[in-house]
């Protein structure tokens, strides 16, 4: 059975050209970029070339890019880095209630260490109101962190407006752009961000590589102490093959960004429309228009997400859910709850995230298979009867 991968927000397959670009740096060009000799020079050259490519894609200068081990490290670095470098100015940070755990958990960590955190609410579509951000700013506020697009429901946040507010107030502004870079246009000047997180494996690059854009003049403490790599901001020998892979991935993404987004949005809308037509008591989570081109997130009433997912998996379709039963914590997704979904609808959520290798036939296959699965699970659901 051919498997259909519809979980690109979790990770993407590494593009064959990316793998090809990486391979020499495991073997022939294995040098340490800090070495003076020719091996070191070729590795250093490759790292710097990747830095330029990342900078180009987001309209930054190459010296404003620091490589990290991924999106989570970039988020940790941005928040802790700013918090600990600016304690003398204030101890207040503003974020949202729908951030990825890589931001959320850092905020909770800082909260236990004498930082005050404001978690901005979102509306039923997952949108932050920029006015709420403006009102939350105090003379102690040092940082605002609002994700560019949400990884679960795909809502694209008004980052540009919040960026303007932050800059006027003289507050640093970070955005977790892990779900947007390489998928929709991202420009650091337009978004008015001081810090922006990138992950390679979400854009057909390898796992274990990411980057943090740090606008020139932004004060933050080093993330790793040790050697002089990354201008002493992030010590440790560079993961050269992964960094090269990130560079190649952003280069490829930049070449096809508009065209691919358009193709995916067509498939997304076809899937959303088809699900609505073929299954009753189903609703779209997230914003109907301000939405990532590849994200479909629905709640299917009366059934539980893990059962849906597992049945889809038996049909070769790989998706994701915000149900508690699929998480170690046994709590439903904090994002869906922040949107105001009742817990039982959060348990019945299903996320399909499309990608480069998906076709219209894949969408049709989901539409062909899912209604039967839902009907079968509903037939054994005690919730349906109580609603009759």
């Amino acid at each position: 059975m051919r498997r259909i991968y519809l979980d690109h927000a979790a990770t993407t397959p590494t593009h064959p050209e990316v793998v090809k670009a990486m391979l020499p740096f495991f073997t022939d060009a294995f040098g340490n970029p800090s070495s003076i000799h020719s091996y070191g020079q070729e590795a250093k050259g490759a790292v710097e070339e990747a830095r330029t490519k990342v900078a180009e894609l987001i309209g930054a200068r190459s010296e404003e890019i620091v490589f990290t081990s991924g999106g989570t490290e970039a988020d940790n670095y941005a928040l802790k880095g700013v918090a600990y470098a600016n304690e003398h100015k204030g101890n207040h940070i503003i974020t949202t209630s729908i951030e990825h755990n890589a931001v959320m958990e850092v905020c909770k960590f800082l909260e236990r260490r004498e930082f005050g955190i404001t978690y901005l609410p979102v509306d039923k579509y997952g949108l932050v109101d920029p006015d709420d951000a403006r009102k939350a700013i105090t003379d102690k506020t040092i940082l605002i962190s609002v994700m560019h697009a949400n990884n679960e429901v795909g809502t694209i946040e008004p980052v540009e407006e919040i960026g303007r507010i932050a800059r006027e107030a003289g507050v640093y502004f970070h955005t977790d752009a892990v779900q947007t870079v390489g998928h929709i246009p991202v420009n650091v000047a337009e978004l008015k961000v001081d810090l922006l997180s990138i992950s390679a494996h979400k854009l057909y690059g390898p796992k274990g590589a990411g980057a943090l854009y740090i606008r020139k003049g932004t004060r933050l403490v080093s993330f790793m102490h040790g050697g002089a790599q990354e201008k002493r901001r992030r010590a440790g020998t560079e993961n050269v093959p992964a960094v090269v892979g990130l560079g190649k991935a952003v280069e490829l993404a930049g070449q096809e960004i508009g065209k691919e987004a358009e193709r995916l949005a067509y498939l997304r809308d076809k899937l959303i429309k088809g699900l609505g037509e073929k299954i009753d008591h189903i609703r779209l989570n997230g914003h109907p228009r301000k939405r990532l081109p590849n994200n479909v997130n629905v709640s299917v009433d009366f059934v539980e997400g893990e059962s849906l997912l597992l049945n889809l998996d038996l049909e070769g379709i790989c998706a994701s859910t915000g149900s508690a039963c699929s998480s170690a914590s046994l709590e439903p997704s904090h994002v869906l709850l922040a949107l105001g979904l009742p817990a039982e609808q959060a348990h019945g959520s299903l996320r399909f995230t499309l990608g480069r290798e998906n076709t219209e036939a894949d969408v049709e296959r989901v539409l062909g298979v899912l209604p039967g699965i839902v009907a079968r699970l509903r037939a054994m659901s005690p919730l349906l009867k109580t609603r009759k």
């Binding site: 009366f302 059934v303 539980e304 893990e306 059962s307 597992l310 998996d313 038996l314 149900s323 508690a324 039963c325 699929s326 170690a328 046994l330 439903p332 009742p342 817990a343 039982e344 348990h347 037939a379 054994m380 659901s381 005690p382 919730l383 009867k385």
Partner: protein
Amino acid sequence: MSDPWSLYNDKVMEHFKNPRNVGEIEDPDGVGHVGNPVCGDVMELYIKVNDGIIVDAKFKTFGCAAAIATSSMVTEMVKGKSIEEALKISNKAVVEALDGLPPAKVHCSVMAEEALKAAIEDYLEHQKLKRQI
């Protein structure tokens, strides 16, 4: 390829794919209703009792694969048992009959035991009322 679902063994998957005894008993002698949709698990267990023997059991469950598999297994286990025997079925016995569950999913088997006990209590309650009449 390993994926999170390989946590479930073949027997659990078999009961998840082909659950036994799904549905309701029209004129049940006992019904157990446990769980809460907010927690993501609801189980309803129906029993039919004849001369102190459970002659039929059916279930309806909202929940994950482990919840569905344990519901299926517990209904299989009680059929043909006396009330006294059925009361002795523990969640551990259900897990063992399924050749094991991932640790995070053991609470689903507790729900199966609770649903069974609730159904039996419901049955005994009705018996008591009948005797009083």
